[in-house]
Amino acid sequence: MPATDFSTFGRSILSLRRDQQVHSMESGGHEGTSHELELEAFQKQVAERFNDLASADSDQLLSIPWIHKLLEVFLSCQEQFKSVVSKNKGLLNKSPADRYVMEYYERSVKALDVCNAIRDGIELIRQWQKQLEIVYYALDNQRSIGEGQIRRSMKALIDLAIGMIDEKESNSSFAHRNRSFGRNNAQKDNNSLGQFRSLSWSVSRNWSATKQLQAIGQNLVAPKNNEISATNGLATAVFTMSYVLYFVMWTLVAAIPCQDRGLQTHFHVTRQFVWAAPVLTLHDRILEESRKRERKNVCGLLREINKIEMCARHMNELTDTIHFPLSEEKEGEVKQRVQELGIVYYGLKDGLGPLERQVREVFHRIVRSRTEGLDSIG
């Protein structure tokens, strides 16, 4: 098919919006080659997957199961992208198509550091889960709840609060901890816990999630028409995949604690792409979440982190007003809060392990795609 024909055909595919998709399929006329159909299918399926993600309600958005789904979406998109690229190997040896593809693979390497940082962040959340476990174990299924259990829970909740303080503030709050230690120990203990916080990151002190995201999103602009036709449409597939990579990494950084976490990155995508609408919707919703009053200074937007904070707050409020012996009403309240906490605890216990493994899987697949991709071009 002559290039000029395709560019108009291609443009009409890409400018389809969701509600027009059905019509275009029926509007006979052009008989796309299998290559063009494949490219179109790729765009459509990316859009479908993101529509599915965007349909999550406010409780599901940014929860561990949802993040799981997000990563699955990334993996499916990448697999499909790989197959589109490999089926069009013939095109690849003519630049600029191979240059675009190489650019994607180099961009994807930058995501690897994000994966590693997220792995650290998950480990940090796991530490908080362990504090919750103490509270849950102390108060759940007790024949009667006495002062001992309450004090134990309070102690764990204080540790939890310390652990969750944003890294920026961590140095100042240590002085105000209301733990009691022997005088000799205060100094040493400050050091050991203070060290614990900064040592939980396995990256160097000057690594920045914000900068890494900026590097991933650098030069990420939609291809022009001449570029699209010069690469027989492959440039749009590359752009799409790059955008998916960028968005997924951005979301991970938004959700999970990591060093120098920032959400101020720019998303430039015009609505001419079918998948632009759901992606931008998700982006807006997540930004909206970050602007909510109670989430402004949080260390990660993960839904479960919010739940941990809420549980801890409820529990603290409760224990502040507790007098012994407990009235039946009070005991009922405690049991209720413990149940609530138990749900959060089990959610973390069951969810963090698989999430960590999946982040590792994303890491591996990015590496493997790149190796295979570069091999097939080179």
Binding site: E133, Y137, R151, S180, N185, L199, S202, S204
Partner: protein, 568 residues
């Protein structure tokens, strides 16, 4: 009212002790540490804890239970502080001397020592090391045994009271910071994949070398010793307590350690990286045995898996680099032979590369045999190298390169028996054959026309009464010979054949054709020239002059235009 029973009395006096040491209650309790004091005080406290624990099991009234629970909680909070304090007092990073042993015991020692080492295994180690027979692990004592005893006393009680989670937390956070200090001492850095990609290769080589040394110490000494410490404190006290504490301590640092090797394994491939990558591969491969031993539990599976993955990626990278190198050589586009005819820089590079490869022969064979490349390039027999190169007349660049390779191989293989063995006599013979052919071609192309000047035909005039030599033709011949020889002399003196033996050989092969032909020509025809005018214009050189001139060939120097003439 009944007097309080013995149980109640025991409980109350125990409770008093516990309350006395409640750190939230009194300044005094905060200032002193029980375990820093005398043994009597320690034992008294521990007994009090035991008493409370006992009474909890027998308490029936919820009031009593609550009292006991409250006392237990205060005791556990106190014990947690004591536990932390003892740990912190012994977190000095391991002494440098213990850490710098990077070379494991050679295998022979193990064979000799095995009955002895087996004994050591079962002994309580009084000295600072214990050896295990089948690997290079060397555990050192991280803490004095009295501290370990105290820690164990506390841990026992905390676990019995159901406070094991707090115990693990405290243990992990303090020991982890100790491991991190040791990491700093070993020079283990926190580098991101981006950092490593941006670093120059020479710097990375140094870092890799340092990492290999550090990793051996980490796995075989540091991690192994931490594991031993966990066992000493926690073994038998609760389900896999020792393992939980070990993982809490070591998981983060281990991941940080192996992240570096992982980053190297995914870095961009280029030929000069081959050897360091092989070093890294071999080092990690050696460590695998020890890693399997140190990280032998279910919870440490992810670490084992990660190292195996890194190993296979390093192998893949090595294979990839080698085949890319192969491609690069085969595709080498330069068709221009090097001015001066010396060894092409690519050839020299290839030779150095290949000789280094022969040093890594064992590893490379394993890697390649385990995954031989498929492709039409390769004959079915992996041992015969693919030698189908275009004919020399067309002078493909690779052929030229290989000729020189053959030359070097032929003359330089004494120093590299592995290389010679790898290349094989068969291959060598083939290459030598090509070399000989090249030499012959050289002869032909250069000297045939020169020697043509010295031939007999065309000089004799038919049917004359004199000796029948055409003087004009003869003069022409001499002039042409001189001009050609001077030209050849001028250019081929600047050609460099670095190998002295080859240089000699070629010069000899030139001389043995040229000199007799010239002398004979001179001898037969000089009288005709000398009988004419200006013989010096035609007979410029004597036989010796030509001989001497040939000595200039292939030296790589520019010589003066005029060939020295010894005689006239």
């Amino acid at each position: 009212m009944e007097p309080p029973g013995n149980d109640v009395v025991a409980f109350e006096s125990a409770e008093k002790i516990i309350l006395r040491w409640d750190s939230t209650a009194s300044e005094d309790a905060r200032e002193k540490m029980i375990f820093a004091g005398d043994r009597y005080e320690i034992d008294r406290y521990l007994q009090a804890v035991d008493e409370i624990q006992r009474s909890m099991e027998f308490a029936t009234l919820s009031d009593d239970q609550n009292k006991a629970n409250s006392a237990i909680q205060i005791a556990m909070a106190r014990l947690e502080d004591e536990f932390r304090n003892i740990l912190i007092a012994h977190t000095n990073p391991v002494e440098a001397e213990s850490l710098t042993d990077s070379s494991p015991l050679p295998e022979e020692d193990y064979e000799d020592d095995s009955p002895l080492t087996k004994d050591l295994e079962h002994q309580e180690s009084n000295g600072s090391c214990s050896y295990r027979p089948t690997n290079s692990i060397r555990e050192i004592d991280l803490m004095p045994s009295d501290a370990i005893y105290d820690l164990r006393c506390i841990a026992e009680r905390m676990i019995l009271a159901g406070y094991l989670r707090e115990c693990i937390q405290v243990y992990g956070s303090v020991r982890k910071s100790a491991v991190d200090s040791s990491f700093r001492k070993l020079g283990i850095e926190k580098l991101s994949i981006g950092d490593i990609q941006r670093l120059e290769w020479e710097i990375l080589e140094t870092k890799i070398r340092r990492w290999i040394r550090a990793a051996k110490v980490c796995v075989r000494i540091l991690f192994a010793s931490e594991k031993k410490l966990c066992e000493q404190i926690f073994e038998g006290l609760g389900t896999a307590m020792d393992d939980a504490c070990f993982m809490e301590t070591i998981k983060g640092p281990a991941i940080q350690l192996f992240n570096f090797a992982e980053a190297i394994s995914i870095s961009r491939r280029s030929p000069e990286k081959l050897f360091k990558i092989l070093d890294l591969h071999d080092a990690l491969s050696d460590l695998l045995v020890d890693i399997e031993i140190v990280f032998d539990s279910k919870s440490s599976e992810s670490i084992r898996v990660q190292t195996v993955e890194i190993l296979s990626r390093l192998a893949e990278a090595a294979r990839g680099i080698l085949s890319e190198f192969e491609n690069a050589v085969l595709r080498e586009p330069s068709k221009v032979p090097v001015p001066g005819g010396t060894i092409h820089p690519l050839t020299r590079y290839v030779m150095n590369y290949i000789s280094l490869i022969s040093d890594y022969k064992q590893t490379m064979s394993e890697l390649i045999v385990s995954k031989p490349s498929t492709g039409s390039r390769y004959s079915s027999d992996p041992n015969t190298p693919d030698m189908d190169f275009a004919e020399l007349e067309s002078q493909t660049p690779l052929a030229l390169h290989l000729i020189w390779i053959a030359v070097i191989l032929q003359f330089n293989l004494e120093g590299s028996p592995e290389l010679r063995e790898m290349v094989g006599d068969d291959c060598l013979r083939k290459l030598t054959g090509k070399f000989r052919q090249a030499a012959t071609n050289y002869q032909r192309s250069t000297w045939v026309t020169v020697l043509h000047c010295l031939r007999d035909e065309g000089l004799h005039v038919k049917g004359s009464f004199s000796s029948g030599v055409s003087k004009s033709a003869l003069r022409e011949r001499f002039k042409t010979f001189n001009a050609m020889f001077e030209e050849v002399h001028r250019t081929q003196s600047t050609w460099l054949i670095p190998d002295t033996q080859l240089r000699e050989e070629l010069r000899i092969s030139v001389s043995e054709k040229l000199i007799p032909a010239y002398r004979s020509f001179l001898g037969r025809f000089r009288s005709h020239i000398e009988s004419g005018r200006h013989p010096e214009n035609y007979i410029k050189y004597s036989g010796e002059d030509i001989e001497t001139a040939v000595l200039d060939f292939f030296e790589g120097y520019q010589v003066s235009q005029h060939i020295r003439r010894r005689s006239q």
